[in-house]
Symmetry: C2
Subunit: 495 residues, 2 copies
């Protein structure tokens, strides 16, 4: 080998550089700006409010400099999000555009429903659009674009991009970016839907109030910028959204059963409201109710109810652990229609390369989490004084003490005080009484009765001393197994 000595040092990954890669700030990415008012929509504005020039220069240094400027700015004057809510400033806390889109519109719709009861056809239209919109968010925005859990062909992507826009949750580009940030920074200040700030905050509060610019974060979305569908949808988002969300249902209902107004309210506004609330639940409900079979250090949880509400995104503890698995539910009896749609689409050639984590990796996670729970249960139980903390008695001391204390018995070189247990012994008082002052190792371990785990555990809680040179063995149970094995071997030999 001709490697010079100096080369013997392995180069470490440059963390700053790698962070820039992870943030997508290390190189010139395709610039995607939404047209007109669209750029202002649902937070997309802040995303595109940089010039192409800035984006190109956006090295890690630039980023650090900007961070510094921000810090200085808010050292002098606190950002609105850091000020308490008062009757003078409350309107400044609020993101009014979002407020209109996720509260105002539904409110208008709710009032309208009062004047306009739905027709049967319109209800069906609303339900169909609800399902298409919801699945476009879960199978499209979430599993396909945010997590690359599989690859999709153009027709399917177009479908998802259109009906996903109709759900009025922002463009793919904006949605997937925040979502990647959420995964990378779960339960930190940088997590846009930070569940630690309460159920309400993670459900809608985060988008209705102004975020603290101190906690800005970025994720690399250059793969999305390479996708013309993502680019196109983002550029013309406002147009596509309005058409898909409101105009299309109005036209359909007008054309086929002459119910334009109903189509607008139920197929449009009301449908949008329901999809929004349903998918918002992935950020709230999925971080609040349920079990944590894979990891309990963070908030994500698995719950059947969340799955029902969110087209199958309810096994969120699993999802945060295995984000690029195209499945959310693993078991056949768990509800995950999104998984089924993806699977079926692959069968008809509309998608391919469905990613799954290995059964091995999944089971490992389960085993580790269960182990953690067991260990914490175990730590709360009384397993008897450890042998090293017990006094050591000579045999003569044992005889002496046995005279005044009428409950001492030796098992496995350990002295136990079974006084209080004599009357409780399931095998009767006589047997225990007959063992007092004696060594009952063999009798206890199978000579008379091969005691259960429970009996060995109880016994351990009664330890009082160790016998000197007594071959003490804290694991009385292993001793019993040895004894029984020997007996079985002897029986086998004698046959």
């Amino acid at each position: 080998m001709e490697q010079p000595q100096a080369m013997e040092k392995v180069e470490s990954v440059d963390v700053t550089e790698a962070n820039a890669v992870a943030a997508g700030t290390n190189k010139l990415t395709k610039r995607i700006v939404a047209a007109g008012l669209g750029g202002k929509l649902m937070g997309t504005k802040s995303m595109v409010d940089v010039t192409a020039d800035q984006l190109a220069k956006d090295s890690i240094n630039e980023l650090l400099a900007r961070d510094k400027a921000l810090k200085e700015k808010y050292e002098k004057q606190k950002h609105i999000s850091e000020q308490p809510w008062t009757k003078d400033n409350w309107h400044q806390h609020i993101n009014w555009l979002n407020m209109i889109l996720v509260c105002g519109l539904p409110l208008f719709g709710a009032i309208a429903t009062y004047y306009k009861p739905p027709t049967k056809e319109t209800v069906i239209l609303g339900v169909v659009l609800y399902i298409l919109g919801g699945l476009s968010i879960t199978a499209g925005y979430h599993r396909l674009w945010s997590h690359r859990a599989y690859s999709a062909r153009t027709p399917l992507k177009v479908l998802f991009a259109l009906f996903g826009a109709g759900a009025v949750e922002g463009s793919i580009k904006w949605w997937s970016h925040s979502h990647r940030v959420h995964h990378r920074y779960t339960d930190t200040h940088r997590d846009p839907y930070d569940a630690r700030k309460g159920f309400w905050y993670s459900h809608m509060g985060w988008m209705l109030t102004k975020p603290n610019p101190r906690y800005k974060a970025r994720a690399d979305i250059s793969d999305l910028a390479d996708d013309w569908i993502v680019r196109f949808q983002h550029r013309h988002y406002l147009l596509i959204m309005t058409f898909m969300a409101l105009i299309l249902p109005t036209i359909i209902a007008k054309y086929f059963w002459d119910d334009a107004w109903g189509g607008f309210i139920y197929g449009g506004i009301f449908k949008v409201f329901v999809i929004q609330q349903a998918t918002f639940c992935v950020n709230s409900l999925a971080h609040w109710i349920g079990v944590q079979p894979f990891d309990d250090r963070r908030t994500p949880r698995d719950h059947f109810l969340t799955a029902i509400v969110t087209f199958g995104e309810g096994y969120h503890n699993f999802h945060h652990e295995f984000p690029s698995d195209y499945r959310n539910a693993l078991k056949w009896y768990q509800y995950d229609p999104t998984k089924i749609v993806i699977y079926l689409s692959s069968k008809v050639g509309l998608s391919y390369n469905l990613k799954t984590f290995s059964d091995n990796a999944i089971k490992q996670g389960l085993v580790q989490q269960q182990q953690k729970k067991l260990d914490s249960m175990r730590a709360h139980l009384n397993w008897g004084t450890p042998l090293q903390d017990l006094p050591v008695w000579d045999k003569s001391e044992f005889f002496e003490k046995s005279k005044d204390k009428k409950g001492l018995v030796i098992i496995s070189g350990i002295v136990h005080n079974v006084e209080n247990f004599i009357g409780e012994h399931p095998g009767g008082e006589k047997l225990v009484k007959g063992a007092l002052g004696k060594d009952a190792t063999t009798a206890f371990n199978g000579g008379v009765y091969a005691h259960s785990n429970a009996a060995h555990n109880l016994l351990a809680t009664m330890r009082v001393a160790v016998i000197r040179d007594g071959n003490a063995n804290a694991n009385t149970f292993s001793l019993q197994n040895e004894f029984l094995d020997k007996k079985a071997a002897a029986a086998a030999a004698s046959n």
Copy 2:
């Protein structure tokens, strides 16, 4: 201390003697013989077929001598139970008395029901007697007398003795004796209902065929012999049984609503059949279906269905572990009416001294069994090659190999080949590619992203070598926690 040297040896419990105590053969016990035909009933005959003289002499030596004689006898000629069933000897295999009591009678009843449909009053009578009989077996025969799980006052004991006799399952003395033997010798030849011999055998087969005398076993029942109610019931068993099982319902039905024949069939025979089958399920169903939360080395199991059928004796895995606990079900949502009856009887002063095992002991059992399951799951998973089985590479070797093999990366002093994972990386290809040929310990452990359990597990499966002097740490996860703790401490210090 004046103990002479010779006394320094601790006396061991004499196993032979203790076994005699456990078998109740060490001393003269009160002799209880059933009157007349009663002595022959349901196996009680063999129990009393010893003279008072013999019982008194029944030391362990006597027992051993008898065992020897038995062995010699059946060495020359095989016992019927050891011979195959043929068309010549099948009738010798069968215990005809029991056959009549648990099969013949019900068959007769079944035919009779065809000719005599029940009246409403008679059905109610049958159900009430069924409940009284069933509870007398579970709360009385089983938990009170067999297991001393609590103490009962005379009125309650009389009730249990009467209605228990009416269930036609033998006397308390006989029943509790076999049951104690069953617990002590579960799943061995000496277990009267040995579940290893099949569902049918443990359900009824054991009582319908002749048992092998080679496998006789005994349990101490001197406490029962001290109970006048047990003695009285055993002495007059046949009389009490016939009256309680058949005559009483006939009289009631005749006297109050003039349906003697119905009372006999439904309140008598049919009721007996149902109670018998229900309680037999404790020996069959409870050893066959369900889960084993406390111990899986033996057959007892917990199942809701068994509980429903047996007045709450369905948590049999728990019961074998904690036999003298007056409860069978621990959780409020588990079905155990027997427990409730015992509890209520204690509230009205009919019983006292209800025994329970400590929560600690119960949880210990659960923890141990879960640990066992986890360990076996863990053993079936791939946790990566143990460090000691990996080749050791110099750093120069790592450089060399990194040239041809394009997937090597060092994390925690261990070389991993991540080639096949690059395309699967949920955090994108770029980050992993940027780490190839480098040490990514810090980046992987929180410098860029604090990877989940799952990621650490996956990583371990990709191990290929250990770096010489590289401070290898198989537990990459502990390393990550250290790193994060340090970061948190630094952040706290800088605030």
